[in-house]
């Protein structure tokens, strides 16, 4: 790969440029929209949607490249590895980026169609900054920049939460902000501990050095990584740390809530990365890799940190599923009910990741993509219903001002079937794949009798979902013959289209289940293999082999840092 780069400098520059552009595009647009004195609404919408389309195109190209075995990587500013900012667009990051861009596109289109962006002047600028934070967190190649981009993402999300027509109650915003500020502090502590023990923050280098640690350094690094897992669990809304989610999502403006469904998935992405760091696969260590890639997280023979992390994550995933079911049954407010769907999707995804090895990761990714799209579509759909559109904090169903249009009922049915995992839509395929991947006889499935628990939790959550969504559908769309209410005015197509596009992901991913699962399986193979990732990062270092410090390059990177005392 380095030879090819030396021979053909210009084409080799393109992926690096594309990776950097995936950050620069939203950042530049956000800055432009902030600095421009009085852009018209049309211009703001055009810039926002155009920029997001561009981001989707970049993500698609990066994904295609990464799946062809050539993940793009760039060291910003040409600084060498332990110092510079390294961005890596491997298949997992590119897939998540594509998902983010598609979701943002639908949310922006919805905001433009329903005038949701009119009252808030900074909506489009903040939205682009949010995308910048998400793209940065996905592409960041080291832990500190993961922290920085998480801060960008959170700051933009605070702004988006507080803006807009659906001003959320101050206490909800305050809780969300303060909780995440504490989370950020813990993130920083984790980064400091990891750096103190290993002397690097680059993910690939870190994975290589962790294996050689012992004694107090190992304890420090382990504490740091587990703290990091806690913070990422907060972002992903795992069991002990999920109470903030339903209130916040229910209070957010609709397009923002649709985008927020992605933020928990960024937390899951971080956990997957953390896992590949902890068991050393991200270092691209060839002989170890093949054995590890097929081992489930729960019974991983690898590093002590990974051994500890696996059962913890699995327990958190199952607990999240149970808590999500209870919350879902208890929620009377319609928006909060939809918000409770998010932890259920997180729990199912993480159960597949934690217990299923590389096949589980592939299945979980397929499930993640379709469930995120459909849930965001459900949020958009709620905004179109007459019962919900009129109120600020959402109403309990049953007291709408008009009968919903029949088209909305059909969309709701599609979304409900997709979310609940009923056949034949994609939710069923995703859940079936996850359940199959955790079976003991599947490669990488859990060996112990644990699979029964996972099956019970996942199937139980599916039953609860069916129950609750049926009840919601009856309350919203079924009317006794005697009651006379005006039928809602016809919903214009431009309002219906974003929700339709997102919910249509269910049937689409059902029809294209074969290619889609092949793509997610390839993504999982690359993410758990770690080889391509490590090769991309080390290709960067090889470009600058004139780097002047001995013992700090990736070639000598296997040794932990020595001699910290003065």
């Amino acid at each position: 790969m380095t030879l090819a780069q030396a021979a053909l400098p210009v084409p080799a520059l393109a992926p690096a440029l594309a990776t950097a552009l995936a950050l620069l595009l939203p950042l530049g647009l956000g800055a432009l929209l902030t600095a421009w004195p009085r852009p018209s609404l049309r211009l703001r919408r055009g810039l926002g949607i155009g920029g997001t389309l561009g981001l989707a195109g970049l993500a698609l190209w990066l994904l295609w490249r990464a799946l062809a075995g050539r993940p793009a990587a760039v060291a910003a500013g040409g600084w060498p590895m332990p110092y510079g900012i390294v961005l890596v667009a491997d298949a997992l990051a590119a897939l998540m980026l594509l998902l983010a861009a598609l979701l943002a596109l639908a949310a922006l289109a919805h905001a433009a169609a329903t005038d949701g962006d009119r009252p808030a002047r900074g909506f489009h600028a903040l939205f682009q900054f949010q995308l910048f934070g998400v793209a940065g967190a996905l592409l960041a190649g080291d832990l500190f920049n993961l922290f920085v981009f998480f801060e960008v993402l959170l700051l933009a999300s605070y702004g988006l939460l507080l803006q807009g027509p659906r001003r959320c109650p101050p206490r909800v915003a305050l809780h969300y902000v303060l909780l995440n500020l504490v989370g950020s502090t813990v993130f920083l502590l984790a980064v400091a501990l990891v750096y103190a023990a290993t002397g690097t923050l680059n993910m690939s280098q870190l994975a290589a050095r962790l294996g050689a640690l012992a004694g107090p350094d190992l304890a420090l690094a382990g504490a740091g990584l587990l703290l990091l897992a806690t913070v990422l669990g907060l972002k992903a809304a795992l069991l002990p740390l999920l109470a903030w989610l339903p209130r916040t999502y229910a209070a957010a403006p609709t397009p923002v809530a649709a985008l927020f469904t992605l933020l928990t998935k960024v937390g899951i992405y971080g956990l997957v990365r953390l896992w590949t760091i902890a068991d050393g696969t991200l270092a691209g260590d060839l002989p170890k890799r093949t054995a590890l890639a097929h081992a489930g997280l729960a019974d991983n023979p690898a590093h002590p940190v990974a051994r500890l992390l696996g059962p913890l994550l699995l327990a958190a995933a199952l607990g999240t599923l149970v808590a999500g079911c209870i919350g879902l049954l208890a929620a009377r407010d319609l928006r909060r009910r939809v918000a409770w769907l998010v932890p259920l999707s997180v729990g199912t995804t993480l159960a597949g990741i934690a217990a299923g090895g590389v096949f589980g990761l592939g299945a979980a990714l397929y499930y993640l993509v379709q469930s995120t799209l459909i849930m965001a579509g459900l949020f958009l759909l709620l905004d179109l219903l007459p019962a919900v559109a009129s109120s600020c904090t959402g109403t309990s169903p049953g007291a709408p001002a008009a009968r919903p249009a029949p088209a909305l009922g059909v969309l709701f049915l599609l979304a409900a079937v997709g979310v609940a995992g009923m056949p034949p839509l994609s939710g069923f395929i995703g859940k079936a794949l996850v359940l199959k991947a955790v079976l003991p006889d599947a490669p990488g499935g859990v060996a112990s009798g644990l699979w029964g628990w996972i099956w019970t939790a996942v199937l139980g959550s599916g039953l609860t979902l069916t129950l609750v969504l049926t009840r919601t559908g009856i309350q919203l769309f079924w009317w006794p013959r005697g009651r006379r209410l005006p039928v809602q005015a016809a919903v214009p197509a431009r309002m219906l289209l974003p929700a339709l596009a997102l919910i249509g992901a269910g049937p689409l991913l059902m029809v294209c289940a074969g290619p889609a699962t092949r793509v997610t399986a390839a993504v999982a193979e690359q993410a758990r293999g770690g080889d391509a990732y490590a090769a991309a990062v080390q290709g960067l270092a090889a470009d600058r082999s004139s780097a002047p410090w001995p013992g700090r390059g990736p070639e000598a990177g296997d040794a932990p840092r020595q001699g910290q005392t003065p």
Binding site: Y83, F144, P170, L188, Y195, W549
Partner: protein, 126 residues
């Protein structure tokens, strides 16, 4: 030196957590401030404590690891911005609900449906 830095970090963190658990919004922000100081100190100490040595990029014997210093600068800037934002939010929230950020949580508890609290908190509502 190590004991001093470790003690200071621990003290800041302890005080921060204590303040964080207080039922007053302003005190919570103060606690966050102390917590972020503690975290910054820990990041700074993560590169090892070396006295009177220049922080130079090629880490040879006789220089300090420069990376934690660069990290802590970034962290301080982010911490400052976040604290400013949290303060502004607390003030905004206080103005919206008509409760001073220093009031006890008992008084600051609005009813569950998000309405403004009753007038007996003694604060004028804007």
């Amino acid at each position: 030196m190590e004991w001093l830095v470790a003690g200071a970090t621990g003290l800041l963190m302890g005080a921060g957590v204590y303040l964080l658990l207080a039922p007053r919004a302003f005190t919570v922000v103060l606690g966050l401030l102390l917590l972020s100081y503690g975290a910054n100190l820990l990041v700074f100490a993560a590169g090892g404590l070396t006295v009177d040595r220049p922080p130079l990029a090629p880490t040879r014997p006789g220089t300090t690891d420069p990376l934690p210093q660069a990290l802590v600068l970034t962290a301080i800037v982010i911490g400052l911005a976040m604290t400013a934002f949290a303060l502004a939010l607390v003030l905004w929230s206080a103005r919206r609900t008509g409760v001073t950020p220093n009031a006890d949580a008992g008084a600051a508890q609005p009813p569950a449906d998000g309405r403004a609290p009753a007038a007996d908190t003694g604060q004028p509502r804007p």
